[in-house]
């Protein structure tokens, strides 16, 4: 009873003071930061469209790739799971724009100064942004990937990827396919974190997008012209996109430059590095 009274008193007291002056536990402040970020992201008009875009492009490009793929003789070097999940190659750009805008829009409008006045713990702000954007990406990614797998299951058997040719219909009950599908969702989430880190470090949205997409798309292009096999392998092991997307491979795993989970680990390391750099710069620089 006494404890309850104390709590009520405390609540009444906190209402009278500016929120930033109220001493709070770190859990409370994290929850408040998360709530603030969630409100911001929820009420910005672009968020819904971008999330819809992530889901639709993931599934849509997958459907197109499935429809364009033919495997008449049953001997083709295409991976049915990877073909169905090819939409991730495109939708990662939308994930990147969502994550970059979460931070750089605040710099663009000057809102960041208000945010950091309200919540002076800058690392907490970044962490709250990371949690929010990762959660939304996981959600949209899961919807898109589920659509891709379903499309592959329905379309590919009619295009030569038949059971008789050693290609069972795509099913999440199949271990490698489940790994490819769940891994693709995780891949998108890691891309969001990587983009958030770069966006925080660079602050300008257009430049951040150039850097993120350059990091993702350029290395495969450069690697494709490197004739030296050793160099080629190293590039594919180190580049965030080529290493991370090995999580989608379900056939020919021996020929991969890096094993699927290790590849996703490489991307996680990139994301962690970008977030670390972004967080450090956020703490050290004037907003």
């Amino acid at each position: 009873m006494r404890a309850l009274l104390a709590l009520r008193l405390r609540r009444a007291w906190t209402r009278l003071l500016p929120s930033s002056l109220v001493p709070r536990s770190s859990v409370q402040s994290a929850a408040r930061a998360f709530g603030a970020e969630w409100t911001k992201l929820r009420t910005v008009p672009g968020t819904g469209w971008l999330l819809l875009g992530v889901a639709a492009l993931t599934a849509g490009l997958g459907v197109l790739a499935d429809a364009a793929t033919r495997c008449p003789a049953g001997v083709c070097h295409l991976d049915p799971a990877k073909t169905s999940l090819i939409g991730v190659d495109l939708s990662q750009a939308v994930v990147a724009i969502l994550a970059v805008l979460v931070i750089s829009d605040e710099y663009g409008t000057g809102l960041i100064r208000v945010t950091l006045t309200a919540m002076p713990r800058r690392t907490t702000v970044l962490a709250a942004k990371a949690v929010t954007v990762t959660g939304l990406t996981l959600l949209a990614g899961a919807v898109g990937v589920a659509g891709s797998v379903l499309a592959g299951r329905l379309i590919l058997p009619g295009h030569g990827f038949a059971f008789g040719h050693g290609y069972p219909p795509l099913s999440l009950a199949d271990g490698p396919v489940l790994r490819a599908a769940a891994g693709s969702v995780l891949y998108l989430a890691l891309i969001a974190l990587l983009s958030l880190g770069v966006g925080t470090a660079v602050r300008d949205a257009a430049a951040a997008m150039g850097i993120v997409l350059g990091l993702l798309y350029l290395v495969p292009i450069i690697a494709s012209t490197v004739t030296d096999p050793g160099w080629h392998r190293h590039l594919e092991q180190l580049a965030p996109m080529t290493a991370g997307l090995t999580i989608q491979d379900t056939i020919g795993l021996r020929g991969l430059a890096i094993s699927p989970w290790a590849g996703l680990g490489v991307l996680a390391a990139w994301a962690a590095g970008a977030l670390l750099l972004g967080g450090l710069l956020l703490r050290l620089r004037d907003a």
Binding site: L64, A65, A68, T69, R70, H77, L78, K82, T83, I86, D89, L90, A93, V94, A96, I97, V100, L101, S104, G108, D204, A205, A206, A207, A208, M209, G210, L213, G214, Y217, L218, P220, I221, I222, A223, S224, T225, V226, T227, D228, P229, W231, H232, R233, E236, T242, G252, G255, L256, A257
Partner: protein, 518 residues
Amino acid sequence: MTVTRTIPRSPTPAGPAGFAPVLRAEWAKFRTVRGWVIGMIIAALVTVGIALLDHSECGGQPTPGGPVIVGYGCSAPIGPGGEAVTDSFYFAHRPLAGDGSVTARMTALTRPGGMGPAHLQPWSKAGIIIKASTRPGSAYAAVLVTPGHGVRMQDDYTGDIAGRPGAVSPAAPRWLRLTRSGDTITGYDSADGRHWTTVGTVRLAGLPATAQAGLFATTPGTSTSTSQSITGSSASGALTLATGHFDHVTLSGNSPSQRWAGTQIGSGPGSKAPGAGFHQAGGTFTVTGTGDIAPDVGGQVGTPIEGTLTGVFATLIAVIVVAALFITAEYRRGLIRVTFAASPARGRVLAAKAVVIGAVTFAAGLAGGAAAVGLGTALLRSNGNFILPASALTEVRVVAGTAALLAVTAILALALGGILRHGAATVTTLIVAIVLPYVLAVALPVLPVGAADWLLRVTPVAGFSIQQTVQRYPQVAASYTPRNGYYPLPPLAGFAVLCAWAALALAIAAVLLRRRDA
């Protein structure tokens, strides 16, 4: 006293006099933003930097079905037209001094081991040939029989004229004849040796007085399949031989030697093929060889000069960012209202911006591209790699074309920025529209060939075909894939696709700029 003063107005929108000040204003804006200037300098440098990353050395290539031959694939003979060629075949020959002719009846084209022409390539070939010398890459003219394309007259590696169609067999032999008159050579074919049809007449400039005339046979490796995987492409297949069966062989004219000599031409894998050679028994000859007499096509031997321009994709991204910001930054900061207040003709502002960003990008692209091609090819050569020869005009086209490609992309980014008014959205849209199709269609073999070709035709990345120097030859079977440097559209058509996108975006941007509030 009232003083009437005319308020100085900005020049009226009509007339060319008004354009120069707008242009000057836009140029002043561009050069005073440090980030944009640095971005353009980085854009130029990154092309060169990536070209200088390629330290690959030519250690040899795997032969079809055989081991890696050190040095093989690190050079190629140069044909009379200046292009790299494959010149590898078995040659049964006699010298021919001055004018004269060689005639032979060909009764069969087979594969050793009793296999018929169905086991050969459609472009396996055997027939008669007059060649300047036995040096690989020397001039020649030949009338030959193929399993899939009938009789052909071919000369100097790139020339190909169709003759009598149909396959050759003992029941349906082919008579072939080549006549030299000066440096002109005429090829004939006949079904019976009495009624001759001219296949073609070619001129071999600089044919020496004494040439080599005789019989030859060669075939590209059967079942050579180039498989693409994440780890790159690899050639596999068995080394095969083709045998031409001849009789009624006559050499008329002045020949210093009465003896037929057998020579393996070329130093490719065929020189080590057991079974190559020729046999003469009475009036019949069988000549067995492997290789090809053809221009080199991409992806086989050597690097085309555009192989040093991979870094242009990085340049492109930097250019897109700067060009997009050139207009979207004005919207974000509200400067665009000042700009439009100062020069109310909004279309003219857009045009001035396009001229400035296009010219700056062209200059940066030209400097970067020229340095990348110059230094990149020098580096590759110093590591023992073979650079496919290209004429000075072709080099100019590749470098200037690359600069133009970047400039048009910058204008496209500017126009899209005017439409979307959002920097990140503009940058993302363009990178996804240009770089991603290339990644999916070329860099990663994740798409089927049909879909990949379609992407390279309709998306703005089609403009990259202006860099292509490797050529397609209908008489050479090869994998003409984007990965080997072949775009589905010819250079200028591909560039036109990119220009069409830019023009469309500019038109939409001009309309929207006028209609919308700034």
